[in-house]
Symmetry: C2
Subunit: 375 residues, 2 copies
């Protein structure tokens, strides 16, 4: 098997036409040519976020934009609610604490999402809460949260609603404006199918009001600097030119197909993969599985990391391991960004062969059959 | 003229083999394959910095690493010296002020460097100064500063010595360890000839001691997180994989030739360009010209931006404009990174033709002759 299949939830495979576009001779960023590219990339991104709010592009990993969503709207001593149901929810809390912000944690069992009524009660009990931070798809548990319902609750309060969509955007349903999201954070290397290195924040009017009173120190991630530079269709600090050129091409491709159709496609791959797993005797980790990534429990006694190694070395398929206490217990397979139907079928075929080789008993081919019925 | 020549001080042209290396199918960053690449890139970078200190890679523009050099070693209320002799020296001061750090500015005329004895006196008068921030090559004025002499002065005090080498490294002489630099800041898109998107900090033992007492809030740029991740040959947040792959290739090329030889080559291009300018009746803006970029004064009555436009549209050569109050008064031509002898000669030829077309009187060809004598 000479082809290699990267099935990790970030980076996802970068389509060849995007890679070649980025490989052209570099251009300067303070030119009309680049301004037009940056403008198109940003406008295209807004369609994917489903927002008419400002959307800013940072040169950073997704965590940089998470930090931006904290330092631009809060002051030391402020109180926020953070939903922690996996590694990335916890990160919001860690960032806030590093800046002297008080965190009310709502801990949910890994693999489940927060109950909207718990958020409602917590907001009621703490009317001074400045913002609620949560996640669209918690990558570490492959779980999608009910952002729409939480949004309705937060919208009715003075608190801001901040959502990490890093691994959900482009795979799970997301409606920035309809769902009342004040800041949506995203990264480039997942649903947007370009290499890592860019991160984004959408910023609502309500969020801009909080920016005015925020006292946390900031410079590189200061929203106001990005807003001012956007008037010249530029970033305040040197743009990651090649990545923005890739972004422009990627959002063009996504919007040409239509974001809803793209989401439906990844959703069908995710369903196909889940049904395939069930057909070969595996169970799904998450109680609210994402369309962007699936976490799969290991059959009794098998170690997920051994299986991942076998899949990579013998079958050329790269899955992601479980994180923190899930290490060795689950493997994760992504369905977003540059991952298509062919990848999904190949991954299932390889998974069947690797499991069979590892001694797991099931009807060979049952996974592929189950998946093909859906795809 | 079908070929295009990008002669800007960042981005500089990215060599084709580096572009193609980055265009290969993307790999995952938490793999042995990537760890080896990241390790080689970092070790190669240390040779270019001439340091045995830690060198960390951030996904950000150079400004992000400038911010890192402030937030990791200082606390609010600390006092620092900032040399301001151009746009980028001023930025250090702006970052520090945003974090509540007191700035003692040493303002020097644009186009000149700071006098080491002024820094010595200022340190003497202010023994509580925590750090001195300055620039190797002030890109906005194309001026190289005497970092070696300043380093000797700062080394003898308790203050840290922080140097922005963003547009100097790989073109102007720089000796991180010998010159007593505690933190050197750099970016990817200049002497290192890859696209923008990565930034670097070298961190000395003396700087690490300051890290231990620093109270400024930080998360994304926290040195300690990068140090910890380096034990696994990784970055704490998703690496900008393709750019790091490009970096590995670039530092390999630079070190294969030898950093001193690379610097000598760019230095000879810079001298050739300066002599060419003089031969056609132009004068050099800086009193201490850098080998990475040259700023050139316009002849009486001519506007630099008009010349830049003509050069770009009719001759395919892109120069950079003057910044702030130098706008329209100077143009800047770079000599670093992917810019080679051929580019330099082509730029001079185009400059002669454009000047002639604009009515400037001189002996056509005199610039090329002067340059070829040096090259």
């Amino acid at each position: 098997m000479s082809k290699k299949y990267l099935m990790t939830p970030g980076p996802t495979p970068v389509p060849e036409d995007i890679r070649l576009e980025m490989a052209k001779p570099i251009i300067h960023h303070r030119t009309k040519e680049y301004q037009a590219i940056f403008k198109e990339a940003t406008e295209g991104l807004k369609k994917i976020f489903k927002t008419s709010n400002d959307v800013f592009t940072f040169t950073s990993s997704g965590t940089g934009a998470m930090e931006a969503s904290v330092v631009n709207v809060l002051s030391a001593g402020d109180k926020i609610i953070v939903v922690r149901g996996g590694k990335f929810g916890e990160r919001f809390g860690d960032i806030a604490k590093a800046y002297g912000v008080e965190v009310i944690a709502i801990d949910v069992e890994w693999g489940t999402g927060p109950k909207p009524e718990v958020i409602k009660e917590t907001l009621k009990k703490n009317p001074d809460v400045k913002a609620v931070y949560t996640t669209l798809c918690e990558t570490s548990t492959a779980t999608v949260f009910d952002i729409k319902s939480i949004g309705e609750i937060v919208k009715a309060t003075d608190a801001l609603f901040v959502v990490d969509t890093i691994s959900g955007l482009g795979a799970d349903d997301f409606e920035n404006d309809k769902w009342g999201v004040d800041i949506a954070v995203c990264g480039s290397q997942k649903g947007l199918m370009i290499p890592p290195g860019l991160a984004f924040c959408s910023v609502s009017e309500k969020a801009w009001k909080a920016v005015e009173t925020s006292k946390l120190p900031k410079f590189y991630f200061n929203f106001k600097k990005y807003k001012k530079a956007w008037l010249d269709m530029d970033t305040p600090f040197t743009s990651a030119i090649t990545l923005v050129i890739g972004l422009k091409k990627a959002v063009e491709k996504i919007n040409a197909q239509g974001i809803d159709s793209v989401i439906a496609e990844h959703n069908s791959q995710a369903r196909a993969f889940r049904e395939a797993c069930k057909a070969i005797g595996l169970t799904i980790f998450s109680k609210s599985p994402s369309s962007g990534v699936t976490g799969v429990n290991m059959p009794n006694g098998m170690n997920a990391d051994d299986l991942i190694k076998l899949l990579k070395t013998e079958f050329g398929v790269t899955f992601a391991p479980g994180q923190e206490h899930l290490k060795g217990k689950i493997f994760r397979c992504a369905h977003m960004g540059g991952i298509d139907r062919e990848h999904t079928i190949e991954a299932i075929k390889a998974l069947e062969m690797a499991l069979s080789k590892s001694g797991h008993k099931f009807t060979i081919g049952a996974g592929v059959v189950a998946a093909e019925k859906i795809l």
